[in-house]
């Protein structure tokens, strides 16, 4: 881990300190997944209007009145209710793996959710969320105007990280003492080996030819051995 206070993180990660004094890492979500989430919610609302419209038209003028009230509630409060009662997730955000949080990582409450969703009007201005998109692209945490005023943040929900197994390899101490970040690089390489093609792994291991003394296939295996040793599989 890089020093959390150094502020040199170059990606969209954002660190938040909890009252317990630990730093939480949040990954701010960009415009594309958020647009997709919005589209899903839009389709859900459209379907709801269609169904309600069909059902309520059977009740004549009373039905139309009720429909207008429900239309009002859905248009303005559909996101609010889901965000407050469903852990910051509308159905669309749930599908896209997004969640609304307060800036400090706490769950979004009524005030935050109502503000960010009422101010949607301004983000939509002058057409099709133009203001919202421009603000998002200009802000390091991809906040639209509503998020800025409400102090909220849309983040990716981290997938439940299963401790990935290192590839089995007999532990072997590296020939020289590695610094912490070097150790981490070796262990990360081994942990990620499942997601790399073998050719790419060989290419990467080739960089450390001076350390491993071999290259290609053997180089990769040697690094796996070091990783196992570093992780304490001795």
């Amino acid at each position: 881990m890089r020093d959390p206070m150094s502020g040199t993180l170059l990606d969209t990660r954002r660190l938040v300190e909890t009252p317990e004094g630990v730093h939480l890492e949040l990954r701010a979500a960009g415009p594309v997944p958020r647009f997709l989430a919005w589209s899903i919610d839009f389709l859900i609302r459209a379907a709801a209007y269609f169904i309600l419209g069909t059902l309520l038209s059977a009740f004549g003028r009373f039905g139309v009145g009720l429909f207008l009230i429900l239309l009002f509630l859905l248009e303005w409060f559909y996101p609010v209710l889901f965000e407050v009662y469903r852990h910051g997730q509308t159905p669309g955000k749930r599908v896209m793996g997004l969640r609304v949080l307060q800036d400090n990582g706490a769950p979004v409450g009524w005030a935050g959710s109502v503000i960010r969703n009422l101010l949607r009007v301004v983000d939509f201005f002058p057409f099709l969320y133009a203001f919202g998109v421009v603000t998002m692209l200009a802000h390091r945490d991809f906040k639209r105007l509503g998020d800025l005023a409400a102090g909220t943040l849309v983040v990716h929900v981290e997938p439940a990280a299963q401790g990935r197994k290192l590839p089995a390899a007999g532990p072997l101490p590296p020939p020289l003492k590695l610094a912490l970040d070097e150790q981490r690089a070796v262990v990360n390489f081994a942990e990620r080996s499942e997601s790399l093609t073998w050719q790419r792994a060989e290419e990467l291991a080739g960089i450390l030819e001076l350390l491993t003394g071999t290259e290609g296939d053997a180089g990769v295996r040697r690094l796996h051995q070091y990783a196992n040793w570093l992780q304490g599989n001795r």
């Binding site: 005030a111 009007v121 981290e158 990280a161 942990e191």
Partner: protein, 323 residues
């Protein structure tokens, strides 16, 4: 302690916390949360996360702990205060106190809205054709149709069974307009300014036009009752929107962002109150104002009482609670 041993020793805690969190995800928020060991487990895992980071353990382990702490954080710091009690407290004291606290903006908003309305009304009475600068002839004819003294119902043309339809329409339309008036304040107050003046001028033109046509005796008894709530609610929406705009333009000693965030927290409470007032207004407009059974004199009397009530509410209620 290396990573493997660390994991071996504490995995039990992590699985325990994970199980607790899964349980909490299922439980409704109102249900009793008797998980006495949840905070202890959570803080334990917080410590593990800090240790794991400090000791540079593997990225996956840290991610896993980060995920657990994040979920725990959500549950531990979730707001759980009773909505019912807070709502009563809000309407019984906090809402009018809040409005008084910002009374300067209230008067600015009222001046913009009523000022533009009355000016337009006077202008239309002096020069009747002025009405057509904002109303197209079809709209004007429609308005005349709605408030003809010999009409069987007032307001929009409708049979008696459709009061509820109009109730729905007023909620959808009027509350939406109020929300827009507020929200567009974030555009440096310009949006709010526009909506206040636009709606003021429109209403003034209609009132002036109908007065010219001699339909005043049906129009004014119709609007006076719900007007107390509706017109004041529009002014309040303007007040909230202007507050947001001023927070952006003149943040004082705060950063602009912080200034807007703080203002928005206050404004959203005003918006709750506006919502309630407009639902009352919609109810009155649909079921009371439109009635043709109630004589005009009674409507005017009741309307005066409603205006007095609204005035009393914002001037006097909630003073003992301080603010």
């Amino acid at each position: 302690m290396n990573q493997q041993e660390f994991t071996r020793r504490f995995e039990k805690d992590w699985l325990g916390l994970e199980a607790r969190l899964d349980e909490l995800d299922q439980v409704k928020r109102s249900a009793a949360r008797t998980s006495a060991d949840f905070p202890r487990l959570y803080r334990q895992v917080c410590q593990h996360l800090a240790l794991a980071r400090d000791r540079d353990y593997g990225a996956h382990l840290i991610e896993r702990l980060n995920g657990l702490v994040l979920r725990g954080h959500q549950h531990l710091y979730e707001a759980r205060a009773g909505v019912g009690v807070r709502t009563v407290q809000f309407f019984a004291a906090d809402f009018p106190a809040l409005i008084r606290h910002e009374s300067r903006l209230f008067w600015i908003s009222a001046l913009l809205f009523f000022g533009s309305g009355l000016t337009m009304m006077a202008a239309v009475q002096a020069f009747p054709e002025m009405a057509y600068t904002v109303l197209d002839p079809r709209q004007a004819a429609q308005m005349e149709e709605m408030y003809r003294p010999d009409a069987s119902v007032l307001g929009r043309e409708r049979p008696a069974d459709s009061d509820f339809l109009m109730f729905g329409f007023y909620i959808y339309n009027n509350v939406g307009i109020a929300f827009q008036t507020f929200a567009s304040g974030l555009l440096a107050g310009i949006g709010t300014l526009f909506f206040l003046l636009f709606n003021g001028v429109l209403i003034g033109a209609v009132a002036g036009h109908l007065t010219n046509a001699g339909f005043g005796p049906t129009f004014y008894p119709f609007v006076i009752g719900h007007g107390a709530f509706e017109l004041i609610a529009v002014v309040l929406a303007g007040q909230a929107g202007l507050k947001l705009g001023f927070a952006l333009l003149a943040p004082g000693r705060l950063t602009r962002g912080e200034s807007v965030r703080q203002a928005a927290r206050v404004c959203v409470r005003i918006v709750y109150g506006i919502g309630a007032m407009l639902v009352i207004a919609a109810f009155l407009e649909a079921f009371w104002s439109s009635s043709t059974v109630v004589p005009a004199a009674v409507k005017i009397g009741v309307g005066a009482v409603l205006w007095a009530l609204v005035g009393f509410y914002f001037i006097a209620v909630g003073r003992s609670h301080g603010s």
